[in-house]
């Protein structure tokens, strides 16, 4: 793509457009005029996908069972909501979206098998799915071999780029750098203590964070510790934190371990209103398990919080709660999962075709103005331009928005100088 303006940050005109948009929250749900004259199937589907004159089939592939079900359920719900809204607005190229849901069962090879089933047997036009890096790594060779399209919602470690994947979450630099800059400036932080779960995402994220702290912020990393997934004993690292007294605790502990970590932190007398803690792994979903009183005061670096105050988000949150119940909470990844079907629809309409090759080629530059996070655009590298935000956890389990980048942050999955 040669279009430099498209690569640049938000133009003033676009910002105005966006503000105009805010007045019309349900703009994306308005019925499309094009619904009446749907293009012929033979013209929009030259590769034998499951597209008929009235329907198009997509796959939803997440863990509905197993240890990851608790995290992935939100993504399933968000994708179903988006599909329902798109159908209510007239579908895609005049066709209703039908979905086939498969269970990855928190088991990476099962993900690969089900992805293959969706592509080979069901000929789905796109797959909304995967959550952990491990499941994506298992599915990636399959979507590449059978030329499918995967919309992947989770913030992840980067170091990957594929024609067949659109990454609707943040890659590591988008999530980390702005947050570190902010906390260094705001708190005058110079010393950092890293704690993570022991797998590829935390290790890569911490590697990037360490380079940034040492080379850009001229600070010091006073400790870096990893614990196996599911670990519940953090007393030794909490003692080390007490000894080294870092300005900032930087954590990417994932899943159930968080519950133990924050409870033990509190029990050890570390008061998060005085000790700065920046996490890149705790969303509203995790706080549900941790308990607001255990984590209140901590900072989280994300691109989306349920409490974001804009018209898109208000419409999204109320539609989500209407569909899935008042008590559900919406975390960063759930929002990113919601983007998947919408971005796919917009790309199909831009390409005028369901063909995967055409969608892959048309993806860069596709923008979604109805995104709950505000506005997103697909980059040449198939990641999203989006803002980085810092929120502070409150007692009620929600985040209060403290800081957001003025402009969209460019995705950079292979960051130079951070490898």
């Amino acid at each position: 793509m040669s279009d430099e303006a498209n690569k640049g940050l938000l133009s003033p005109l676009r910002r105005k457009l966006l503000m105009g948009m805010a007045a019309v929250p349900a703009i994306t749900m308005l019925p499309r005029a094009s619904f009446a004259q749907a293009p012929a199937t033979s013209a929009v589907n030259t590769t034998g996908l499951a597209v008929t004159d009235t329907e198009v089939t997509v796959g939803i592939l997440h863990s509905a069972t197993g240890t990851m079900a608790i995290s992935e359920t939100g993504s399933i719900q968000a994708e179903k909501l988006a599909i329902e809204q798109i159908n209510a607005a007239g579908g895609v190229l005049g066709r209703k979206i039908k979905f086939i849901q498969e269970d990855g069962a928190s088991d990476w090879p099962t993900f690969a098998e089900k992805a293959k089933k969706l592509l080979v047997n069901d000929k789905v036009a796109a797959i909304m799915g995967c959550w952990t890096s491990a499941s994506r790594k298992a599915v990636l060779p399959v979507v590449e071999q059978y030329n499918g399209m995967l919309y992947y919602p989770t913030f992840y470690e980067g170091l990957e780029q594929s024609k067949n994947v659109i990454y609707t979450g943040q890659e590591a630099t988008q999530q980390i750098l702005a947050g570190l800059n902010w906390i260094a400036k705001e708190k005058g932080a110079k010393s950092f203590f890293f704690i993570g779960s022991d797998y590829i995402w935390p290790r890569t994220s911490n590697k990037i964070a360490r380079k940034h702290v040492e080379n850009v912020l001229k600070g010091k990393v006073v400790g870096e510790e990893y614990y196996p997934l599911g670990n519940t004993q953090f007393n030794s690292v909490i003692n080390k934190i007490k000894l080294t007294k870092p300005d900032v605790i930087f954590t990417d502990v994932v899943g159930g371990s968080n519950v133990a970590f924050y409870k033990q932190l509190k029990a050890a007398g570390i008061d998060l209103s005085k000790q700065a803690l920046l996490t890149i792994s705790v969303t509203e979903d995790e706080i549900d398990g941790i308990g607001g009183e255990n984590i209140a005061g901590a900072y989280a670096c994300m691109k989306y919080f349920q409490s974001l105050d804009n018209a898109n988000n208000k419409a999204f949150v109320s539609a989500f709660k209407k569909m899935w119940g008042e008590k559900t909470v919406i975390g960063d990844v759930t929002q990113a999962a919601y983007l998947g079907p919408w971005l796919w629809k917009l790309t199909v309409e831009k390409a005028g075709s369901f063909d995967v090759d055409k969608i892959a080629a048309a993806s860069p530059g596709v923008e979604f103005k109805g995104a709950p996070e505000g506005y997103v655009r697909i980059h040449e590298n198939h990641h999203l331009w989006s803002k980085t935000r810092v929120g502070r956890a409150k007692l009620d389990g929600q985040f209060e928005l403290i800081f957001e980048t003025a402009d969209l942050v460019e995705p950079d999955p292979f960051p130079k100088g951070y490898q």
Binding site: D103, W108, P109, A112, A134, K137, A138, L159, D198, Y199
Partner: protein, 379 residues
């Protein structure tokens, strides 16, 4: 008395039925995707076959067969991963020419223990020998000290847990929880396209029948008789002058080697290996396949592996949220109602009728296999 024929009539029928289904019916009726799934199910049939020898006949319940399945699979996967990590395939990495997960973990050169896996001959030997030797060490340590029964089962389970933690923890060397993904070619031959899947399927079925032959041979020799005797009355066998420990070690090692062959075929067919096949849960699942099929019967166990996995796939496709309950109910029903599994059901209800049909023409019947009928208590 050793049966003069390699298969008695019921076994011969089982053999013919299995061969017909695997060699003719399935390849003709299924598309490549489903056939590849069957190939995946059959990798577990190797494990089930080993469990028939070691658990059904030898009475040694191992809850750690995933360890050997995993070792075999990882040996194969290491070879395939090295081939997939050629310098031109990995030129975006900081260090090209090493597997991608090593690069992510800041390892800059290929570790020493990976080096020999450049050779296919070494890999094939390793697939057999590494799990075999590992089983020999565990078996010697346990059985020479007369550790058996429940204690042995618990220890094998602990070994499975330890190996999983080791693989997950050493992610720079093993790929960690992600496993080894994106395996592409075997000596330059692409294992991913449809025609390769079909060839791999037939290779696997041939190997399976070879293993069935070996297992049947062991069963019919004196060795097989001693295994059964040991299961029933270990002390008596010992007092008769046999070294019980050596026989147990042998059965355990055979089961390990069969499992390892299954694991290696898994890596080839699925293009993937991960610690989720090594741990406690998959190991117990493998025992369940055998129990459902019938732990006393070679063919029963193989059918168990195929049918349970088939049920797993089809239930999870139809009921993504509820399938685990359905599968659980199936296990409970089978084990409660037919303690000898599907093969017991066959022997009790179907076989007599078939025999009756034959007997009406030919009075002399030799179907009754003492090992199916004896119904030893579950250990």
């Amino acid at each position: 008395m050793i049966n003069s024929r390699f298969f008695n009539r019921s076994e011969l029928m089982g053999f013919i039925a299995l061969a017909a289904v695997l060699f003719v019916i399935l390849p003709l009726t299924l598309d490549v995707f489903r056939l590849n799934l069957v190939a995946k199910y059959l990798t577990y049939a190797f494990v089930a076959l080993g469990l028939v020898l070691c658990w059904g006949y030898g009475g040694i319940l191992s809850l750690g067969q995933g360890v050997f399945f995993g070792l075999g699979g990882y040996c194969m996967a290491m070879f395939l991963k090295l081939e997939a990590s050629s310098v031109e395939n990995t030129k975006i990495q900081s260090t090209p020419g090493i597997p991608d997960f090593m690069d992510w973990n800041q390892i800059t050169s290929l570790p020493l223990f990976w080096q020999p896996f450049h050779s296919l001959t070494f890999t094939i030997l390793a697939i057999i020998l590494v799990p075999g030797l590992f089983a020999l060490i565990i078996g010697t340590a346990m059985f020479k000290r007369r550790v058996g029964g429940t204690y042995f089962a618990i220890i094998t389970q602990a070994v499975a847990a330890i190996l999983t933690i080791l693989i997950v923890g050493q992610q720079g060397y093993t790929g960690g929880i992600n496993g080894m993904t994106d395996l592409r070619t075997l000596k330059g031959w692409d294992i991913r396209p449809d025609h390769a899947k079909i060839i791999l399927y037939f290779v696997e079925v041939v190997l399976l029948f070879a293993c069935i032959g070996i297992a049947q041979f062991i069963r019919l020799t004196k060795l097989g008789r001693i295994l059964v005797a040991m299961r029933e009355q270990e002390d008596r066998v010992r007092f008769s002058g046999y070294s019980v420990a050596n026989f147990k070690i042998f059965a355990f090692c055979m089961a390990a080697v069969f499992a390892a062959i299954g694991g290696a075929m898994f890596a080839l067919n699925v293009g993937f290996m991960s610690p989720s096949f090594v741990g406690i849960v998959p190991s117990i699942e493998m025992v369940i396949y055998t129990a459902v099929g019938g732990r006393m019967s070679i063919f029963g166990a193989i059918w168990g592996a195929i049918l349970v996995n088939f049920a797993k796939t089809s239930l999870s496709e139809s009921f993504p949220q509820l399938w685990l309950f359905g599968l659980g109910a199936l296990f409970i029903a089978v084990v409660l109602a037919f303690p000898n599994g599907l093969s017991g059901l066959w022997a009790d209800y179907v076989q007599p009728r078939i025999d009756w049909l034959f007997a009406s023409r030919k009075p002399k019947s030799d179907w009754k296999d003492n090992s199916v009928a004896d119904g030893a208590p579950a250990e």
